[in-house]
């Protein structure tokens, strides 16, 4: 992937750079910010706030509930044997299995959808700089047009940083 990026020492400068890029006409979905920690307080990290994850978890929970319902019902009726004087399909104890499988379904759905939406695991790390792990904040513009590179470089340098890099 082609990209141009700059590394900032603090989130305020990174936010400033993001604002400058937007003023420059760069669309939000071309700007990537990479950090070593979440900066919830800064606007640049708010773009992905809306998420379907809660609904997906609820869907996983529903599937788990149905699995629990099916497991307890069909195993009890597959070979009906009375135990402990309970009915063949005994709802009170079945609720326990159904509850556990509901929660398991919600948990697994959450984790699977997390991996899918964040594209993990992946071998490729198209835009990354190990300096990020030392606390720097990367602001990158993905797939810039050739005639825009010089202008983007000027915009990124406007925040006072020296080092602007290009990938590849």
């Amino acid at each position: 992937m082609k990209a141009i990026y700059a590394l900032f020492n603090n989130p305020d400068s990174a936010q400033q750079a993001v604002d400058d890029l937007r003023r420059d006409g760069v669309p939000d979905n071309s700007i990537t910010v990479i950090t070593s920690q979440p900066y919830e307080e800064y606007e640049f990290s708010h773009r992905y706030k809306p998420t379907w994850l809660f609904w997906i978890a609820a869907g996983g929970g529903t599937l788990g509930l149905l699995a629990g319902l099916g497991l307890t019902y069909f195993t009890a009726t597959a070979w009906p044997i009375v135990t402990g004087g309970m009915p063949i399909v005994a709802w009170w104890p079945n609720i326990i299995i159904m509850f556990e499988l509901t929660m398991l379904g919600a948990i697994l759905a959450t984790v699977v959808s997390l991996f899918i939406t964040t594209e993990l695991p992946t071998k490729q790390r198209p835009i990354y700089d190990p300096e990020v792990s030392r606390g720097k904040i990367m602001v990158a513009v993905e797939e810039p047009k050739d005639n825009e590179v010089a202008r983007l470089e000027r915009t990124l340098r406007a925040s006072g940083i020296e080092d602007v890099k290009q990938v590849p």
Binding site: N9, N10, D19, R22, D28, V33, I34, T35, S36, Q37, P38, Y39, E40, E41, Y42, E43, S45, R47, Y48, T51, L53, F54, A57, G61, L71, T72, T75, A76, A78, W79, T83, M86, A90, P93, N94, I96, I97, F99, E100, L101, M103, L104, I107, L108, T110, V111, L114, T118, L120, P121, T122, K123, R125, I127, P130, V132, S133, R134, G135, K136
Partner: protein, 451 residues
Amino acid sequence: MNLQAEQKINADLLRPLRHTSFKFYLLVAFLGTIILLGAGSWFYQMSNGLAVAGIKWPIFWAFYITNFVFWIGISHAGTLISAILRLVNATWRRPVTRCAEVITVFALMIGALFPIIHLGRPWLFFWLMPYPNERGLWPNLRSPLAWDFFAISTYLTGSTLFLLLPIIPDFALMRDQMSGWRRKIYSVLALGWQGTTKQWHRLEAAMQIMAIAIVPVAVSVHTIVSFDFSMSPVPMWHSTIFGPYFVVGAIFSGIAALIVAMAILRKVLHLEQYLHPLHFQNLGKLLLLMSLLWGYFTFSERLTTWYGNEPSEMAVFWETQTGSYAPLFWTMVFCNFVIPFPILAIRKLRTITGCVIASSTIVVGMWLERFLIIVPSLATKNLPYTWSYYRPQPVEIMITIATFAAMVLLYTLFSKAVPIISVWELKVGKHEKPVPSAAEEEERELWRVRP
């Protein structure tokens, strides 16, 4: 937070991973020897049958099931506490959560081992799993033992994921900061994590959902463990209070174990700058609350039994109050209430040392509590001609000691492989809130709604 402060956190928390002293190898060798002795004892038991253990009719549940309930209780230290603190957004939780979550995973693994050790033919443990035999006959899912399987598997799966998900960004940190073979391993474990804003958002949302889901699961697990007892018409077991009583006891012992673990980590890994007296103070307050709740439940349980005056229950009751189990019972009361209560209630005594003393007695007291729930009821059950006694045998004692050694070893190895304090979560706790101008806010709002 400036770059220097951030790099100092990286250096401090990754130091235990980079430097290993000979004491570490000595400790591993020592613990490994104990575990081998425990494994040998188990093998001896498998070769000679359960007769070599002290369990005999009518006391078929003793040390092993005590350990099972105890370790499942200890497991409530981590994920449950961490999830609750995460949900209420307690900022002081940040250095504590991982220390706690690790306890949950390892304690559950050890706890789940005991029903298998307790089996006469442990290699057939998979019969508990929900699959049919060759005649199409499924396990009886109406049995509390089957509920245990589902509850513990769900809790172990959830707790392991709850522990592992926030480690991924720390694996990425180690991938960048380490060299040689470690770099290669951490590169694989980091799964290609970059740290984009999207990844952080999704991770935090997932952790929020996991926290919401794991709290009821944790409560259900120990309630279901209590059902192993309360579903039976055994004196002092058949009680409606057992579910909450077990859950309270589990959280109580779990917090105590967490405080002990944190104090050891603080000392050994030199984490004084991160695990402050405030963390012990706050956990000490929680422990005080749990001590009071435990006292309340114990009193309620005993009072209703005494007031009901049912002969078979009173036999067990007096056996624990004044009979052969009385020394253990009163030691338990001292360990769980009389000693910790003043230490934790008086602010001057609620120091790190005070909290560790109180927690250590509670861990002992809660083990005794589990033993006193199980053995006296079976030893003094209904018909006097069946009454018996129980003496633990060397095999059971050795296996019990080995599991404590296993817990320490697993914890030690984990803290050598992964920062025991979540690096990125700790940094988030040190952020200063930006104050954008009204014009900047307005401008950003426009960008947000722009197609």
